[in-house]
Amino acid sequence: MKRTVPLIICSLTGFILIISWFLPAAESWGEKVTHWFDIVAAFAFVLGGANLLKIHLQKISNRRIGWGYSAVTLTAFLVTLLAGLFKINVNPSMNYPAYSWSGNYLDEGGLLWWIYEYLFVPLSATLFAMLAFYITSAAFRAFRAKNIEASILLFTAFLILLGRTYAGSLITSGLPDSLAFLRFENLTIIIMSVFNLAGSRAITIGIALGVVTTSLKLLLAVDRSYLGSD
């Protein structure tokens, strides 16, 4: 019962959605289920939030190493959550001024907007910017090419990088027209439109087959690991 009913639900839902794709009357069911998922994911936030509170409160109460940071996390979490749920400092909408809750939760001037603008965005952008350093260190590691495959990867990356810069165009600008295809910017186009295209297409086809097989295994209950035990 605890496993059988979910397996039946899983299979039925999946096969109904597969068939619905071929029936114009039912074509939008997949999109509808996506909206439903967004709603259930919002309910599931309660589980995540409860877990977050539990983990950090336990750390604080047991005075484990780093409990101070847990206190910071919880404070930030609760302040942000309350600011968003209660639309603190958010003005009503211009079109409906009599309705005090009509403003958007992220309107400029609100507390959630402040947290988003001055904490969330800069921190996200900075972590994103760290990639510049990490991509360089990854490239330096790849420079120690130990085999042909790594050498091909490195060489291609180098060509593409140069082809996308002004310096690259300048280096090979002296080549005659008969050898124009060897200019970095043209080599970049050839690599992207031929070799990269072929490889990407094969990866995509393989992924599609993988998705089909995995989906079938789930729908036919061959793979049940997501369900847990009885």
Partner: protein, 425 residues
Amino acid sequence: MVQHSIIKSCCKSVVVIATLLLLITEGYSAEPSPVEKKTSIQPAKNITIKDYPGDLGTSLIIEWELSEDDQNDPKKSFVIAYEVYRKTEKTEYKFLSQVTYQKNFYRDQECEPDKKYWYQVIAIGKNNLQSIPLESLNPGIPILQWFDSRRGWIGILMLFSCSLVVYFIWIARKGKKLKIRKIAGLDAVEEAVGRATEMGSSCLFVPGILDVNDIQTIAGITILSHVAEVTAEYETDMIVPTCRSLVMTMAREAVETAYLSAGKPDAYNEDDIYYLTDEQFGYVAGIQGTMVRDKPAACFYMGAFYAESLLLAETGNSIGAIQIAGTAMPSQLPFFVAACDYTLIGEELFAASAYLSGEPDQLGSLKGQDYGKLLCAALIIIGCTFATLSSLANHYQWGTGMESSFSSIQTYVSENILGEKGFRP
């Protein structure tokens, strides 16, 4: 006398030059161009109305031949647009929409099934000129289709591919042994967990940053259950920070079952699988911190990743962990390949669960996947063969019959079997 003749010849020259100038500059005067001289405009021709295929009977396609005054070159074209009008049995013609010049069709999506609609098309020219309306004599009737015939061939191919998978699962269940080649990244799982055990360290498993409505996440969690069995056997801690609450729920179920299967239910600690945050970079900041402080000896990244893939992989490198990654995000594969010890490329992520389980029916599904690739190769080879023959026949003029046969076969494969037309002619 001489002076008089000089003056006379000068005057003649002036007259000649002035006449010449007048003649030359006549082309640059403000005389109207041929396009601007037009006072009437040719209408569109041969209007047809067809039912739009594969819908709920809410669309009709109106097609017409372009007006003779409609040219590709905007400077030469007198037509600038076409206006489409519609009427029903109960209403008169009402304006529906306008399409630009050189466009000879319009899809009306505001119809009701089995209702009659008449259309007229008016060519609109420069200087606000309009052509006489081109009216449809017969009405168009949208029909509700229960089955989208454009997807007929896709259905057949999908059924065939799925049947292959099901067939090989069935064959494997019957006891036939199937050979699977080695996948280095998956063979290294036990080695990685063993290394963590020897070092007295933990394992870290990151199931991606998307939710359970992504198939890569589901694939990642099925791999998690197998890795959890190994860590249970080795009695090594495994931390699983998750990015979504539902993923945390599902991961807990999977790991608990794995520990149960390994006979170590007491070793399971649900707090090892915890929710961090939904936000991409908040999540990776938390994992980076965990990696640098707890220093796991083995890191597994299995699922959907975006830009944070490189952050994770490089941080793992900095702590000297053995890293096994797998994703079906083509844009992130280069970074995992460059930075991790082993990478499962695309399809290998989906094959991993079957490979690690070693169960016959799971391995049978891999065989079915391979036959899917054979189908793909066969379609490509057939299509390319006919495309090449069509090109050769067209160039060397092998005869109208041969040219059209090869061309038809190639077109049918491309547009019907693999394209949008499906069963429609």
